[in-house]
């Protein structure tokens, strides 16, 4: 997939024999230390997990098409919802964004690779046993965990052995994320090419720098929560057992202290991608670069002080409810600033609407809907109506699927010429976009109404009044799933096989950045000597 093209200055022959040999066969992948190869592996892994998680979603929607249990027992249904969540979050979204980071961060800052190339390899390969332990839960006695992805105590204490293998998998995935984040932070802080000041760095790198700090801060907290669950289950502790002085609500506090920054971990890199795509296709610089950096930083900092908005129904004192309501509402401010700045970037630009731009504009549209439903949920009195209902399911699917996933699609379409050397098929890209956007909204918009009308979540069967909306949701979901199968088979696979128009070094008229200063596909090694940059740090001179 990567050509063996040299990219260093003429006369510098000392390295020739060192990289005339690109590893081949299985060793290339198992022993990979190249950020591009590791990025590819993360993306392939994430795509596979996405399809597995997607199948689970299709099974859920098949059961919920009509009232009554048609296919599964309620206990298996609870396993489906739990595993769908865990696989999508830890197997699909997070590794996919790490894949984007691996591919693009070194290229965008002018570094030859990640700071710790072997640790990078370990970060990736840890995910394979983790995924096996996670998905293997279905085949263990008692089946997969059936607690919801949030794994609340004391229900988690009633689960079979798959709960323990899930806990182990979470530890492995957490270690992988922490090591990956260390790599990203050190690469960005220490290995930028001379002249690439932090405030000239592409927004995608800023987004990942901040996300990496969030990961390092909160993954250990999740590890704490699940380890306490493990010891409560098997080693006689009573962290979450009131009979011996423990507190089930403490689990929720610890979990959500991780959980809330976690959802920002899943959206900040998306913001970074959108902040690259919109200026490129508007042929205009990002509006308010400095504010955008401050906005991402404020969102990250605020994300640490809002966690208990997931716990408004637990019986919190008034002061607590007020504090968490106010802080949650506050996050809307920097988020709104970002939306306004993207719009101002488009304003009076010279826009074209190739597929990356379609997904970027689509992102803003669905993200704002998701953001508003989040703001409504932030109002604690309203949350008392909507907590634990389908309104919450609608909200987080809008921000995670519609937003994070669409941003990833935008990033794929934008950067795949650089990764593969060929252009994707534009017509098929547009089909993928419209099919996904429409079916997504058919699937998830009615969930707001289901929640308002009172349908609880994690229900295998429901009062018959909810039937018609559920049917609509299921049909939309099946169509959305089909759209993604279409995407992988008819858009991604051809580009991975090199089938498509040869891509120029920079296929996008308005795109700027160091990744567009190297050939397409990007050579196996790039920037082995730090490039000399122009004053804007977007072009290589000399």
């Amino acid at each position: 997939m990567s050509a063996v093209l040299d990219n260093h200055a003429p006369g510098d022959h000392a390295h020739d024999d060192h990289h005339a040999h690109v590893p081949t066969g299985w060793r290339r992948w198992v022993y990979a230390t190249n950020h591009k190869d590791i990025g590819t592996m993360y993306l392939v892994f994430a795509s596979t997990m996405f399809l597995v998680g997607g199948i689970l979603a299709m099974l859920i929607r098949a059961e919920l098409f009509e009232p009554g249990l048609q296919f599964f027992t309620p206990e298996f249904f609870n396993q489906l919802t739990t595993m769908h969540g865990l696989i999508m979050i830890f197997g699909a979204i997070m590794p996919a964004f790490v894949g984007f980071a691996n591919w693009m961060v070194p290229l965008q800052v002018g570094a030859s690779d990640m700071a710790f190339a072997r640790m990078n390899n370990f970060s990736f390969w840890l995910l394979i046993p983790a995924a096996l332990m996670l998905t293997g839960g279905f085949f263990m006695p008692g089946g997969a965990p059936a607690t919801g992805w949030t794994m609340y105590a004391p229900l988690s204490l009633q689960m079979g052995m798959s709960m323990d293998s899930t806990i182990f998998a979470i530890h492995l995935m957490g270690a992988s994320s922490i090591m990956g984040s260390i790599n990203i932070i050190v690469t960005i802080l220490n290995m930028r090419a001379p002249g690439m000041k932090l405030m000239k760095m592409p927004m995608f790198c800023w987004a990942w720098l901040i996300t990496a700090y969030l990961l390092v801060a909160v993954m250990p907290v999740l590890a704490g929560a699940v380890t306490m669950t493990l010891t409560d289950r098997h080693f006689g502790t009573s962290f979450f057992n009131a009979a011996n002085g423990g507190d089930p609500i403490m689990y929720q506090h610890i979990f959500w202290f991780f959980g809330h920054p976690e959802v920002y971990i899943m959206i900040l890199p998306a913001f970074g991608i959108i902040s690259q795509v919109i200026p490129a296709f508007s042929r205009k610089k990002l509006f308010g670069y400095t504010s955008m950096v401050y906005a991402i930083a404020s969102i990250a900092i605020l994300s640490f002080i809002v966690w208990a908005h997931h716990m408004f129904a637990t019986g919190m004192p008034v002061t607590g409810q007020l504090f968490f309501m106010y802080s949650t509402m506050l996050i809307a401010v920097p988020t709104a600033v970002k939306v306004f700045n993207w719009t101002a970037t488009m304003w009076r630009g010279s826009m074209t609407f190739e597929t990356p731009m379609l997904f970027a504009v689509g992102f803003i549209f669905v993200f704002v809907i998701g953001g508003f439903s989040g703001l409504i949920l932030a109002l604690a009195p309203v949350d008392l109506q909507l907590h634990g209902t389908y309104y919450v399911v609608a909200h987080f699917h809008y921000v995670l699927v519609a937003a994070a996933l669409f941003a990833m699609f935008a990033g794929y379409y934008y950067w795949c010429p650089k990764w593969t050397g060929v252009m994707y098929n534009e017509t098929r890209g547009k089909i993928h976009f419209w099919w996904s956007l429409i079916s997504f909204n058919v699937a998830f918009f009615p969930m707001h109404f289901l929640g308002l009308a009172g349908m609880p979540r994690r229900y295998a069967d429901y009062p018959a009044q909810f039937t018609d909306l559920n049917m609509l949701v299921s049909v939309g979901a099946f169509l959305f799933g089909l759209a993604q199968v279409y995407f992988f088979l008819f858009v991604v696979l051809p580009t991975m096989r090199g089938q498509g128009e040869k891509a120029p070094q920079n296929p996008w008229e308005g795109a700027e950045g160091l990744e567009w200063e190297v050939p397409s596909p990007a050579p196996f090694h790039t920037f082995e000597t730090p490039p000399k940059l122009d004053p804007t740090a977007t072009r290589i001179i000399g």
Binding site: G315, V368, P463
Partner: protein, 308 residues
């Protein structure tokens, strides 16, 4: 006023869908709206039967209007820009990429809007938390998978019973598609509803026997987790006579969808009559640790057996 306009709009939205559903469901007997519970093709919260629920409706509708206005504003601007500022119509890109004044404005204005929304919400939170001076206090215990109600204080003191999903409904669910159609209170009706008097402040104390459950009744605007080993409380004051439905809203194991809540709100006279009848019936039940199984009759669920 905003509430009335948006309520009216929302209820108009239902009409075409109700017609569509009526036309589509000619094969089986279609389910109808359940008064006090969910409605078919419902786009809004369940009708309020308490002041607190009305306040929650008002907050929700109000914020939705604010969001809708901002949405139309932002996307109006964006879609105009998409139409006019395209390369294909010959528009050339401008060069500006910052403006401190504009940035400050669109930071301050949202901030002010949020404060204006947070103020009324604050009042409702304080009101929701005030469980003092209740006329009636009932302890609600979550079990896997049913609710237990104990009348602790006030008229009806001493009454306690278990409330479970109506007999036959669990089998209906297990059997899948039902050619006779599902009853209107499918998965909502219970064998022994909670009974409270109208216009009296009822304090609900929640706890659990096993895992976390959540006692939720949308018509009253009530939701309170039931946590094992802890007691929490909330309150409601029903302002209409009738039957109202709720559900467990915290995943509690395999039968999480099968432990609904049904509350009958009676006039003061009817309530007193009910209390008298209940006391007579309960006089025949033995006290002691087997009380739960005695009360639930012949197909007892072992409340400790909860391996899912």
């Amino acid at each position: 006023m905003i509430k009335n306009i948006s309520n009216k709009l929302v209820s108009c939205l239902r009409i075409p869908f109700v017609l569509l559903a009526a036309w589509a469901s000619t094969a089986a007997h279609a389910v109808g709206d359940l008064p006090g519970g969910p409605s078919v093709w419902e786009f809004d919260l369940q009708p309020a039967a308490s002041k607190i629920a009305e306040e929650q409706h008002w907050l929700n509708n109000g914020l939705m209007v604010v969001c809708a206005v901002i949405f139309v504003g932002v996307f109006g601007v964006m879609f105009y820009s998409i139409w006019k500022h395209r390369k294909s119509v010959g528009h050339k890109a401008a060069a500006f990429h910052e403006s401190t004044a504009v940035e400050i404005a669109w930071t301050i204005v949202p901030f002010i809007i949020l404060i204006l929304v947070a103020l009324p919400a604050t009042k409702v939170i304080v009101a929701e938390k005030d469980t003092t001076n209740a006329d009636l206090t009932i302890k609600v215990t979550g079990y896997q998978w049913m609710w237990g109600y104990d009348y602790l204080k006030g008229e009806g003191q001493g009454i306690d019973f278990i409330s479970r999903l109506k007999p036959g409904m669990r089998e209906m669910s297990r059997d899948g598609a039902n050619k006779d159609g599902f009853p209107d209170d499918y998965l909502l009706g219970v064998d022994h509803p909670l009974v409270v008097p109208v216009n009296k402040k009822v304090r609900i104390i929640t706890t659990s026997n096993d895992v976390i459950h959540s006692f939720s009744v949308p018509a009253f605007g009530v939701k309170q987790d039931a946590i094992p080993g802890f007691v929490r409380d909330t309150w409601f004051k029903a302002d209409k006579v009738g039957t109202f439905y709720g559900s467990c809203t915290e995943l509690c194991g395999k039968e999480h969808a099968y432990m609904p809540i049904e509350i009958k709100v009676l006039s003061a006279a009817d309530y007193s009559a009910w209390v008298a009848t209940e006391h007579k019936a309960l006089a025949n039940v033995p006290a002691g640790p087997d009380k739960v199984s005695a009360l639930t009759g012949s197909n007892t669920v072992d409340v400790k057996a909860s391996r899912s």
